[in-house]
Structures are given as C-alpha cells and as structure tokens.
C-alpha cells in the first residue's frame, strides 16, 4: 500500500493527507473491523508477470485443456450454429461499440434494428407488441408475471411444475421480495394436469404460467384460455423463440403474454451465455409491457422515424409507480438473433426445425432399439425427450465423456421420482454419424 503503483492513482502523499484528515495512522487501521482470523497474513501467491508472447502461449496451453464435445444435452441451453455472416455483421463497430442510446432518436440505426427485432418476435409469437428484449428467458418470465400482477391487482400466480427448474428458481427469487405467492400446478406423465389447474384456480390468481415445449421436451397442448378468462386470470406462455417457426405459437394458444429464451437462434453457449429473453403481449397490456419499446412514426417533414415509445413514461415519469423499472435490454444479442433469423430466412428457420425434429426422432427410435433404454411416455416431443436407462446414468455419461460426447441430464438430480431417467436433446447441428456413434458407444457398455 505504501508503494506508488502505476495503476493506483493515489500517491503516498495523497494517502498520508487522507489519513491525517480522518485521524488514522495506517491504511490497515481502516480494516480493523475485519476479524484478524479472517485476514490473509501473508503475501498473495501470484506468479510473476509475463510478456505478451509468453502469456499468449500459457493461455493457449490452458485453452488446450478444453475438450471439444459433441453435446446431447439441452435442458434450457441449446447447442446451435452461428453463421459467420451473423458475427461479421454484428461486430461492425456501429453495432458493437455503441452503448445504449441515451439520446435514443439520434441513433436511428440502433432503433431500427430493435424495431425489426420486435417485429420478428411478434411474427413468431403471433402477439401484438414486443419490447426490445430482456436479459434471458427466466427474467422475461418474471416480468411477464409482474405485468399480470399489475393488470389484475392480484398477488398469486399458478405455474405449471413442468417449467424449467432454473426458471422457477429465478421466479421465486424475484417474487419473494414482491410478496407474490407461487402455487405450482402438478403434472402427470410429464404434462401439466388440467384437473389440478382447475382445482387451484381461484379469484386470487393473477396468471397461469405454462412452458411449452416443457422442461422435459414435451408439447403442452392444452386449451385453457376460456377457463382462465372466466376467472379473469391472464395466460402466460413461455416458449423458445426458435421453435415457434414450426410449433403452435403463444398467439395461437390464445396467450395474453408470451415470453422465453431466444438463445438457440445463433447465440453461443460460452459460460452461460449471454442469453436473450423476449417478452411480448396483446395490445390491451401494452401499457404494462416493461423496458424499451421502439415505435415507427413520421417526423414533421413526413420522413420515416424510429422512436422510443411509452418507455419514457414507465421509467422516467412513473418511476416508483411503474410495474417494473427494468431499463436494460440485451441489444447486441437481440441484433444477433435478428441477423440469424434474417439470414436463415423463413424457409431456413422452418427447414432447420424439421431437421432437428427428424434427427431427434431418429435418435429416440435408435435408442429404444437398445436393450438398456426404455420408453417412459408416448408424449409428443420436438427435439428433447426423456428415456429410462436401466444402468447407471453417471457411468454412462462418464463413458460418453471419454468419447468426447456430452451426455444427457440425469433427471434424478431434479427429482427423486425420476430415478433412472435422463433428458436428451439433439438438433440440426448433429450429423447421422454423430448419432450413430453415440448409439454404438452405448451399445458397447455392459
């Protein structure tokens, strides 16, 4: 602390002056409230500095410890391919280096791509209005619940227990501090129970939250809109944006709010993201839609102009009265997802979805031909499914890992009732050879 350091702005003289003013002799005295037993009474064991070349080589060596794995794991995080054009366009400095536009309307380019992202979300979800994006699918679901609570002035939500457990954890964390009660709706055979929903629906329920395809990969195809509407409760559907190219959209399910994850549209899986949430709603909830919303209008000379709309009211004027104070969005990630969709095109998104579907079903059928894999349900799935493995799942996954394959999720970690069951996922990124290789390795395990 006494040595002048190139990165610390305070000189020895500065520090002495400050100590004199506050009446201390040594900097260490500032930390006297920390128990002595908790202090590190020795020098930090750090290696000495390296020059750039040596550092590069060292990091390369560390990097080479990574295994390149073929992933058959999903459960909310999906291996996918980012076309190089997406990265090339998104890394243009006009996009990459521009921080959030505080004088928003000056940044017409930024507002335009946000507007186009919103249009993409609306088209895929079949909803009326979308915001500029959220951090991830879990926080988007939380904001959807806040919207429903603010709209209905009720403080209880029903959530299908087939939702991703990580999403549920995030919801619990947020709702705890808003005194909003969560009631889980039970499921049978990996699908939410309509009977249990009917039983738990009462006049305190703000909304019912349903994820489809659900955490186990199965399509939750139930018609609950009339039931909820009669109870004046809102219907929130959480669905991966990418899958909506072919699956029934939240709009078609008559949801009031759609939310979910968009990671599988060209975003990587590096250390948990960054992920991207989306949030869209019917027009009657527009005033409750948090975050930024970009609108299209004409300026006084009649030229097309993109503007931030309603947002000023929510965050700058309503302040503590707003239903949410979230101001951020994942702009660069939203841009990448938009570029992915634009470059893939409508046909691309649909064709790759069918490819994922076909490969997942081929994989599923091949697995069931093996003696040690058993069917657990006949439910419809898209690219993710549950199977029973008669052996030890941990051993299986270790053997796969030795062959550079990332196996499925051992569902016993989620629930004791799901012993010997695993969740597997594959999509268009896998080849038939990779699938057959998986099958052959499993066949070889005694």
């Amino acid at each position: 602390m006494q040595v002048n350091h190139r990165y610390f702005p305070h000189t020895k003289k500065d520090i002495e002056e400050m100590l004199t003013i506050i009446g201390k002799n040594k900097v260490e005295e500032l930390f006297e409230s920390i128990p002595k037993s908790k202090l590190l009474n020795e020098e930090l064991d750090l290696p000495s500095s390296l020059n750039e070349l040596d550092l590069y080589k060292k990091l390369e060596d560390i990097g080479n410890l990574n295994k390149r794995l073929v992933s058959f794991l999903g459960a909310g995080a999906y291996d996918n391919y980012t076309p190089s054009a997406v990265k090339a366009i998104a890394s243009r400095q006009e996009f990459l280096t521009s921080y959030t536009p505080y004088q928003a309307e000056i940044s017409q380019g930024t507002l335009q791509y946000i507007f186009e992202f919103q249009s993409l979300v609306c088209e895929l979800t079949q909803m009326d209005a979308s915001n500029a994006s959220m951090y991830d699918g879990a926080t988007a679901t939380v904001e959807a619940i806040f919207m429903a609570v603010a709209h209905t002035k009720r403080e209880k939500v029903l959530i299908a227990n087939t939702i991703n457990p990580n999403t549920l954890e995030v919801i619990k964390t947020y709702l705890k501090y808003k005194n909003i009660e969560i009631v889980l709706v039970e499921s049978t055979n990996f699908l939410v129970s309509l009977d249990d929903l009917k039983q738990k629906l009462d006049s305190d329920i703000a909304a019912f939250v349903l994820q489809t395809p659900n955490f186990y990969g199965y399509l939750e195809d139930i018609d609950v809109k009339d039931l909820l509407e009669a109870n004046k409760s809102l219907y929130i559907v959480n669905a991966p944006l990418c899958d909506l190219a072919v699956l029934k959209s939240p709009g078609e399910m008559k949801a009031d709010i759609a939310c979910g994850e968009a990671q599988s549209m060209g975003l990587s899986l590096s250390f948990g993201g960054p992920y991207l949430g989306y949030l869209a709603c019917k027009n009657f909830l527009l005033r409750k839609l948090p975050g930024r919303i970009v609108g299209l209008t004409n300026d006084i000379e009649g030229r097309r102009a993109f503007v931030l709309t309603l947002q000023a009211r929510e965050q700058h004027i309503k302040r503590e009265k707003a239903s949410s104070n979230i101001c951020s969005n994942q702009s660069l990630m939203a841009l990448q997802v938009l570029l992915y969709a634009m470059l893939m095109g409508k046909n691309g998104l649909v064709n790759y979805s069918y490819d994922s579907f076909n490969k997942a079903h081929y994989f599923y059928n091949e697995l069931l031909k093996l003696d040690n894999f058993k069917k657990v349900t006949d439910n419809e799935f898209f690219k993710e499914f549950v199977v029973m493995y008669t052996g030890d799942i941990e051993k299986l996954n270790n053997e796969l890992l030795n062959n550079n394959i990332l196996g499925g999720l051992n569902l016993e970690k989620i629930s004791n009732e799901l012993k010997n069951q695993m969740l597997l996922c594959i999509n268009y990124t896998k080849t038939k050879e990779e699938i057959d290789n998986f099958i052959n390795i499993v066949r070889g395990i005694k």
Binding site: R287, R313, I317, K318, K321
Partner: protein, 125 residues
C-alpha cells in the same frame, strides 16, 4: 386561472366530487388537468371495486407526468366512464364534465374532511 366550481367538493390532491344522495361522482379538477398537460392515458378501476377516502383508485398519464387519482369518498364503484378510456383528452377539454367514476358511499364519516370551493381555491394559488 383555473376554474373552481362552487357546487362541488374537493380533495387537496385535486379531485372533485359531486354528492347526489349517497352517490358520489368523481373527477379531477381543472387545476389538475392544467398542471398535467395533455392527458394521454387513463387507468380506471372497475364496477364493483371498493374505493377508500384519500386512497388511489386510478392512474392518469400525461405527456409530462403520471399521477395517482385518490377517492374523495369511501364506497363501491357503481359506474365507470368508459368513453374516457379511448379519449382521455376529454378531461383536458372540460374536467368537470369528464367524470371518471360514480361511487355508492358506504361510509359517510369522511365526508366532513372534504374541502369546499373556497378552501380549495386557496390551495390552487
């Protein structure tokens, strides 16, 4: 100079109330609409909802502010001025004819707390 109607009662938070038997018709004052500026959005409660004296029952947004609207009386909403939902600017045109809700008063004890036109005028200065 904003208009203060002699035949109405007021809250210090700029709501007016017209008492007719046990039915109270509620709106915001001319002074309030002036202060808010162009009103663009109104969020009202529904028929059957309970309202309480000096407690918020609605929210109003203008181009420059968002405010709660408080109830001058305690009771149950019996009518809502639905036409304002699509045309909240009617409040700017005539704050005293653009009523928001009608309430059946269930507790008269708070009525004595209302301001008369003269008292309210001093607040608006």
């Amino acid at each position: 100079m904003s208009e203060v109607r002699k035949d109405l009662k007021y809250l210090d938070t700029h709501e007016w109330v017209k008492l007719d038997g046990n039915i109270a018709t509620i709106g915001i004052s001319d002074y309030a609409q002036h202060s808010l500026g162009d009103i663009v959005y109104l969020e009202l409660n529904q028929v059957g909802d309970k309202v309480s004296y000096k407690k918020s029952f609605a929210a109003i947004e203008s181009v420059k502010a968002a405010s709660d609207i408080n109830s001058p009386v305690t009771g149950i909403v019996v009518e809502v001025n639905e036409s304002l939902m699509d045309t909240p600017e009617l409040i700017n045109e005539d704050a005293y004819s653009a009523w928001l809700i009608k309430v059946e008063i269930t507790d008269e004890s708070s009525l004595s707390g209302l301001l008369n036109a003269e008292e309210y005028t001093t607040i608006c200065k």
